[in-house]
Symmetry: C2
Subunit: 511 residues, 2 copies
């Protein structure tokens, strides 16, 4: 435990903490919460010494560590295998190079600022407070990202004659089925042992409103699911015929999570994104880090030596180099560490062996905005029954000539494997075929496709870890300190990467 | 029926219509749908003649009629009682004058572009296709308006010890109560007559996912309602203790509609707004209308004469003037028509007598963005139990120094009456007291308040009509053609105003 950690815990116990942290006992294992401002203040009062720190990987966690050390004027070195920073925080736009193991291509979108594709993380939750704090500190402008839009489609294979239905039809018919069944049970006095009697009338009133039931507690359609065309303006709104949600019931293993997606902890109907691309966060960090990052430096081995650890890497010219440091911050994905000769402790080594990453991938097209003009879809996601899973509509640039539509966000294992193995042209053809199930006109309007399979991407080899983190990631392992979203329960989220960076800062000895 | 209408219906019956209109039979009474492009095309082929048209009122419906006539080069005249166009489409910003019957004040927001207050309409639904069409045609940039945000508050008087709870706690506990009650009823075989037997297991699976139930089909809290502080990053997420939704049940008369607000037809979680203020739509129309609008012209009487109708009005200098026209488009609110001497047909006159308008009002403050820094609220609405009903957080300018928070959107009758009668200072004091129930720190950060009661506003005298429109608004009444949102089932929405304008265009004789 270093000085700052000790000071921090002392401050906790003397109850000087900001209110945000005051209600929780500290779990020693977790090193959470971390009070960044206090940490910064304490470090600024330390004497300026030579600090022998090496950061491996210039993704979000590595950049965050580097940024905080830079603010303090603390020395460090940094190795990055790619030719650019950011890791999976990658925004493709005109001219971006897209390298995978077996191919190199370029993004051919026009040059317009609004034509970009966040091929890695693409949304920020309001409770991802660490990311939001840096966005504010780095003057990164945020705008809403529409994540759930009831005017998009669900294409549930096996239901509704395989015809896509609107999200509002699905949600409304589900509420109608649930509410009408329970309301009838209450009215027939079947559940009086489950509900205090005084609630019966209230429950009936609530269910009628919740499910938009008729006076017999039946669900017979609702204008919440959409009004008939040409009704509701000069004549009263007429509900369209209701969908029968029981058609979805046999398909819940696949669809339950998708239907309740907007309810989940890290997803909300409206989220946030940086104006102009998620890599504004990368650029924000980079602007404030001295030019210490050695790009094109692929780590080959990491071994303990007397003075700490020695890292062997190959530079752009293919020359093998070595670097030693007393403390090494290891942010590389577990899949990448599998290929590196290391001497980490047994639990870490085992965890690297066990690594299980999603085969996430995305494909996007520049396109005329047919989803706006034809379907009145402004942002949000349509759900496919096929491999490509999600279509994302842009949340900005409404009404412009063109936009970028994500024609597939694949994150389920086998689908991701298949996507990885397709050629670029096969990915385009397959995506268009799948999009046409929801938007028959898609091929007419889309062009300039680009895609990435993270599984097939060097120095990532997968989307994010599906395993929960082991507790050993929370502790120093000799000269090694581990960071990266995979070392947290926020795997796949930038918030996890930054939280892990803060933990690494706490573990680093700067005495 | 004029020539265009006849042509239009002919085209309908010969099945040359765009697909959007192809599935609906035309109800002759409603004059809906209106194919704007066909109307425009037909008119362009008409000979250029002198057309004797007078439009009363330069709100959205009057401006839309004027815009379409201007595009065709058709002559018209226009009277507006205010000194500016737009009617209730009003955006307050630095220096805006706010006139009510008993007071005149000025908006004191700083000059920044993002500091504005849509004191009238403030959101556009994705299915308000007529408004969206004009936004596109007039190059009005749109951005998302976050209408429902699960991180805002519900302050339900009488429940939870009168302590505000987060929307996500409310929604999640409601789903939990409904799902757990029904799931137990299914498991106990109590509702087998209500559901086909083959669905039982599926329903249990669905309800477990829908309500986030435990393995005993109980709702015992959910991380959807928020995780415990400091859990979910280095330790698994822990659900906060769940709220008991039965506390809300006795209060549903007031709260059911509010809780299910985001489900309703014209509301969605994410909607749209023009960047920089709703009055961009007004400016868009005005840019394309010749300077024919006579402002400061208060209509006093409307009477039939041989050549059509004679309108008497008072100009800015107090001089009484007269103007005659063959056709008069009357867009004035029914409340305003009550004060005008007219000779409309009996049903219209009766409807004007019966006019019943909401007493809507709003108050806003410039403020430091404490809701973002303290509560991580980015856009959306909090619901108060007191008069001021809704707090709106801005959906743009995230992270900036200041923003505009709507400290009250009042639309319930008695509350609106009370708001109308308060002095400006009383409105501010009352709003702060009410905001402090949800945000105790509100008074510390807010300043530069401005407010408007539409009830107390000359030439509006209310928010919008609460009565359904009578069918007579769909027909010509001698020289009179009626328009305005109050003549449609979309009362209070700009979409209704524009639909009514299109109907007026159809009824106008341009032969």
């Amino acid at each position: 435990m270093n000085k700052n950690r000790r000071q921090f815990i002392k401050q906790v116990t003397t109850a000087t903490l900001a209110s945000a942290f005051s209600t929780q006992a500290l779990a020693d294992d977790t090193l959470d919460p971390f009070n960044l401002q206090e940490w910064r203040d304490n470090q600024i009062n330390s004497p300026d010494k030579h600090h022998d720190i090496l950061i491996l990987g210039a993704g979000i966690s590595g950049l965050c560590v580097a940024y905080e050390l830079s603010k303090l004027g603390v020395n460090f070195q940094m190795l990055e295998a790619r030719s650019k920073p950011g890791g999976r925080n990658e925004t493709l736009r005109h001219g971006s190079e897209i390298e995978e193991f077996d191919r190199t291509s370029y993004c051919e979108f026009n040059r317009d600022k609004h034509l970009y594709f966040n091929v890695g993380p693409a949304r920020i939750s309001h409770h991802h407070e660490r990311v939001l704090r840096y966005c504010k500190e780095l003057s990164i402008t945020l705008e809403p990202l529409i994540n759930d839009n009831r005017n998009t489609f669900f294409s549930i294979d096996g239901a509704f004659n395989n015809t896509p239905i609107k999200a509002k039809e699905l949600y409304t018919s589900q509420r109608g089925l649930i509410a009408s069944t329970l309301a009838q049970a209450i009215e027939q006095n079947l559940v009086s042992h489950l509900l205090p009697a005084q609630h019966n009338d209230h429950m009936l009133k609530m269910l009628t409103s919740f499910g938009d039931l008729d006076s017999n507690y039946q669900f017979s359609g609702s204008i919440r699911a959409g009004a008939e065309a040409n009704s509701g303006v000069f004549t009263p709104p007429q509900a369209q015929p209701s969908k029968d949600f029981t058609q979805v019931l046999p398909h819940l293993d696949k669809w339950a999570r998708r239907i309740h997606f907007e309810q989940s902890k890290d997803q909300q109907a409206a989220m946030l994104q940086p104006v102009g691309g998620m890599d504004r966060i990368v650029k924000g960090f980079i602007r404030n880090i001295p030019k210490k990052i050695r790009y094109n430096s692929e780590v080959l081995s990491i071994k303990r030596v007397k003075s700490g650890s020695e890292v062997t890497f190959r530079n752009k010219q293919g020359v093998i180099k070595k670097m030693t440091a007393a403390q090494i911050v290891v942010t590389l994905p577990l899949t990448v560490l599998q290929d590196i000769d290391h001497d980490f402790s047994a639990p870490i080594a085992q965890e690297i062996q066990n690594a299980n990453y999603t085969s996430a991938g995305k494909i996007a097209f520049q396109s005329e905005r047919f989803w706006e003009t034809h379907e009145h879809i402004y942002g949000g996601i349509s759900w496919l029954g096929s491999d490509n899973t999600q279509l994302w509509y842009p949340s900005s640039g409404f009404g412009r000539e063109s936009g970028v539509i994500v024609g597939g966000y694949i994150f389920d294992g086998p689908a991701g494997e298949r996507f990885a193995n397709l050629s670029n042209q096969e990915r385009v053809d397959s995506a268009l075929t799948q999009m046409q199930h929801v938007h028959p006109e898609a091929a007419e309007y889309t062009y300039n496709a680009c895609s990435r399979s993270w599984k097939n991407t060097p120095f990532s080899k997968g989307g994010w870890s599906s395993n929960p983190p082991i507790v050993e990631f929370s502790h120093q392992d000799g000269p090694y300190i581990f960071a990266g979203d995979h070392t947290t329960y926020l795997s796949g989220w930038q918030e996890g990467a930054i939280a892990s960076a803060h933990r690494a800062l706490e573990l680093l000895s700067l005495d």
